[in-house]
C-alpha cells in the first residue's frame, strides 16, 4: 500500500515544481514597466474610489444571503426548464413544491423587513422583551 501513495507524492512534487517553474519563467521573460494606472485595483474598469477596507453596512449581509437563495433557485430552474417536456408531471409538482418553500422564505424576510433598506422599528414582541428585561 506504500506504493499506492507514491502517485500522490509525485503529484505534489510535480505540482510545486511546475508552479515554481512557471513563476520563474514569467519573471525572466516579462517586461517590467509599471505605471500608476497598471497598479490600480481592478474594479471592472471603473476608477476605484477610496480604500477597500471600510466598514460595510451590515444590511448588505442579509441582502446578500437572500440574493444567494434566489440565485440558487434560478440555477435549479434552468436545467429543469430545458428538460421539462421529458420529465412530466412529477418534476413539475416537485419544482412547484420547491418554489413554494422559497416563497414562504420570501414572505418571511419581507414581513420581517429584511429586504427594506431602512429596517422598520422592532415589533411589539421585541418591546415586550425589553420591558421584561427591565
Amino acid at each position: 500500500m506504500q506504493y499506492d501513495l507514491v502517485a500522490v507524492l509525485v503529484f505534489m512534487v510535480v505540482g510545486v515544481a511546475l508552479l515554481a517553474f512557471i513563476l520563474a519563467l514569467s519573471r525572466l521573460l516579462q517586461p517590467r514597466d509599471p505605471n500608476p494606472a497598471k497598479l490600480t485595483t481592478y474594479e471592472c474598469g471603473e476608477q476605484p474610489v477610496g480604500p477597500a477596507w471600510i466598514q460595510f453596512n451590515i444590511r448588505f449581509y442579509v441582502m446578500a444571503l437572500v440574493f444567494v437563495i434566489f440565485d440558487v433557485e434560478v440555477v435549479f430552474l434552468f436545467p429543469w426548464a430545458v428538460v421539462f417536456q421529458k420529465l412530466g408531471l412529477f418534476a413539475f409538482v416537485e419544482m412547484m413544491v420547491f418554489l413554494g418553500i422559497l416563497l414562504v422564505g420570501l414572505a418571511y424576510v419581507w414581513r420581517n423587513g429584511d429586504i427594506e433598506w431602512v429596517k422598520p422599528l422592532p415589533g411589539p414582541a421585541a418591546l415586550e422583551d425589553e420591558k421584561g428585561a427591565r
Binding site: M1, D4, F90, A107, R111, A125, E128, D129
Partner: protein, 494 residues
C-alpha cells in the same frame, strides 16, 4: 445487504410521509407566525400537530417492511420508524415544555417553535440515512438548526457562548467526518453504506485508509451522541442553552446519532456473520467502541460528581448515559441493539422528566444551582416526588424504567462475554447514585428558605409530569410490550 427492496422515486415519497408532514407543518408554522404577530401559541399548536402526525405516521411504518428509497439515499425500515417516533415524541414534549418557560423570549418565539420541527426532520433523516451524503447532510441540518435554538436568547452572553462552542465543535467534528468519508470514497468508489461494506469485506481497501475512515466517521457521530473524546461542548452548551433546548438536545440528536451509529457501523463497516454481525475486514472497531464506551461513562460520571449546577450535572449525566447505551452496541447482537433502543425510549421519559421539573419550577427557583432545590420537598410535594422518581430511574434502581433499560444493556454485554465492560458499567452506576441522590438530599433533608410558602406548579407542567412519571414507573414493572415492539423492529437485521 439483502432484503432491501429498491423503490422508485414516486414510491419513495410515500415512505417519508412523517418527514413530509413535519416539513409541511414547519412551513405552515412559519406562515402562521407571519400572520399572527402576537399570539405565538398558534405556532406552537401547529408544531404540536406536526409532531403528533409525525409520531402516528412513524408508528404506522413499524410494520411496513424495509425498502431503499430515493436511489439508495435513505432506508425505510422498522429501525428508522421507531427512532422517528422517538424523535417526534420528544419534539412534541419539548414544544409543550416551552409554552410556560420564561426563558423563551417573545421575539423569535415563532422561529423557535418552527425550528424544532426542522431539527426533528433532520434527525429523522439521520436515523434513516443509507448513503454517506445523506449521513452528512442530515447531521449538518441537525447541528446548524440546533445551534440557532441554543442561541435563542440573543442578548444572553452564556447562550451566545454556548452556541459558538456548539457550532465550532460541530464544524470541527463534521470536518473530520467528511474527511473520513472522502477517504472511504476514494478507496471504495462508492458512497452507499452497503457498497462500502462490500468493498471492505472484499479486502480491496488499503488497511490504513479503512482504519482512518472508520475512526474519522466516529468523530461526527461521537459529537452528536456526546461520547468521549467528543464531549467537551456538552456541559457548556447544556448550561447556556434555554432549558427546554437543553432537554431537546439530550434526546433528539442523541437518539438520531445512535440510529446513525447502528446504520453506519453495522451496515457500512460491518458484515453479517451467520446470525450476528462482525466488523468488516480486519478492523476491530467493536473493541474501539468498547473503550470509547467505558471512557464515556467513566468520565461522564466522574465529571458529574462535583457539579453544583443542575444543568451541568445533567450534561455530564447524559455523557454517562451515552456511554451506557454504547455498551449495548458493542455487543453487536440483537439483544444489544434491542437494549439500546429500549434504553433510548426509557431515557426519553426519565431525562425529559428531570427537565420538566426544572422548567416548571424555573419561575420559583432562584437559579439552576442544586442549592436552590433545598427544602423543596416540603414546599412542592409533587414536583419533588416526580424528581425523585426520575433521578432514581436514571440511577437504575428497580422497580423503575431505568432499571429495565440497564438490565437489558448489561444482559447484552454479559451475553457477548465482554465482562470487563459490564464491570465498568456496574461500578459507574454506583458512582452515579451519589450525585443523583445529592439532589434528592437537597430537596428533602437540607433546610431551605420556607418563607415563599408552598409552590403551586402550573397545571400544564403537572400534567406533563404525570405523563412522564407514569411511563417511568410502568415500564419498570411491565415492559413486555415495549421490548416486544423494539425487538420486532430489529428483526430485519438478524
Amino acid at each position: 445487504m439483502t432484503g432491501y427492496a429498491q423503490l422508485d422515486l414516486a414510491a419513495s415519497v410515500g415512505q417519508i410521509l412523517p418527514e413530509l408532514v413535519a416539513t409541511a407543518a414547519f412551513l405552515l408554522a412559519v406562515v402562521v407566525d407571519l400572520v399572527s404577530r402576537r399570539r405565538k401559541e398558534a405556532v406552537c399548536a401547529v408544531v404540536l400537530a406536526g409532531c403528533i402526525a409525525g409520531l402516528v405516521l412513524s408508528l404506522a411504518q413499524l410494520k411496513a417492511g424495509q425498502s431503499l428509497i430515493f436511489a439508495g439515499m435513505a432506508a425505510a425500515d422498522p429501525l428508522a420508524a421507531i427512532l422517528k417516533a422517538v424523535v417526534f415524541l420528544a419534539t412534541g414534549l419539548v414544544a409543550l415544555f416551552s409554552l410556560g418557560s420564561p426563558e423563551i423570549r417573545m421575539s423569535g418565539r415563532g422561529e423557535y417553535y418552527s425550528l424544532l420541527l426542522v431539527v426533528a426532520v433532520g434527525a429523522c433523516f439521520m436515523a434513516s440515512a443509507m448513503n454517506f451524503v445523506m449521513v452528512y447532510l442530515a447531521t449538518e441540518l441537525v447541528t446548524v438548526t440546533s445551534c440557532i435554538l441554543v442561541a435563542h436568547a440573543k442578548d444572553d452572553r452564556r447562550a451566545s457562548e454556548a452556541a459558538l462552542k456548539y457550532i465550532l465543535f460541530g464544524a470541527a467534528a463534521s470536518g473530520v467526518m467528511i474527511y473520513g468519508i472522502s477517504l472511504l470514497y476514494g478507496a471504495t468508489g462508492t458512497l452507499s453504506l452497503t457498497g462500502v461494506s462490500r468493498a471492505l469485506v472484499s479486502g480491496q481497501v488499503p488497511g490504513l485508509v479503512a482504519v482512518l475512515g472508520v475512526v474519522f466517521v466516529l468523530a461526527g457521530i461521537g459529537y452528536k451522541i456526546a461520547a468521549v473524546p467528543f464531549h467537551f461542548w456538552c456541559p457548556d452548551v447544556y448550561e447556556g442553552a434555554p432549558t427546554p433546548i437543553t432537554a431537546f438536545l439530550s434526546i433528539v440528536p442523541e437518539a438520531a446519532g445512535f440510529g446513525l451509529l447502528i446504520r453506519v457501523y453495522m451496515l457500512g463497516f460491518g458484515e453479517r456473520m451467520g446470525q450476528g454481525w462482525a466488523a468488516a475486514a480486519s478492523l476491530d472497531w467493536p473493541s474501539l467502541l468498547a473503550v470509547v464506551s467505558a471512557l464515556t461513562m467513566t468520565l461522564g460520571n466522574l465529571g458529574a460528581l462535583h457539579q453544583t449546577n443542575l444543568k451541568r450535572l445533567m450534561a455530564y449525566s447524559s455523557i454517562a448515559h451515552a456511554g451506557y447505551i454504547l455498551m449495548g452496541f458493542v455487543a453487536l447482537s440483537k439483544t444489544g441493539l434491542n437494549a439500546m433502543i429500549i434504553y433510548i425510549i426509557v431515557y426519553l421519559f426519565m431525562n425529559l422528566g428531570v427537565f420538566a421539573v426544572l422548567i416548571g419550577l424555573s419561575r420559583r427557583l432562584a437559579s439552576d444551582q442544586i442549592a436552590s432545590f433545598r427544602g423543596l420537598g416540603g414546599r412542592a410535594k409533587f414536583p419533588a416526588f416526580a424528581m425523585t422518581v426520575f433521578l432514581f430511574s436514571l440511577t437504575g434502581i428497580p422497580p423503575l424504567a431505568g432499571f429495565t433499560g440497564k438490565f437489558y444493556l448489561f444482559a447484552a454485554v454479559i451475553d457477548a462475554k465482554i465482562y470487563w465492560l459490564a464491570i465498568v458499567g456496574a461500578l459507574n452506576s454506583v458512582v452515579s447514585l451519589y450525585y443523583y441522590v445529592r439532589i434528592i438530599k437537597a430537596m428533602y433533608i437540607e433546610a431551605g428558605e420556607t418563607e415563599g410558602g408552598p409552590i403551586q406548579l402550573p397545571a400544564l407542567y403537572t400534567a406533563l409530569l404525570v405523563a412522564l412519571v407514569v411511563p417511568t414507573v410502568v415500564l419498570g414493572i411491565f415492559w413486555g410490550p415495549l421490548a416486544g415492539m423494539t425487538e420486532a423492529s430489529l428483526r430485519f437485521l438478524f
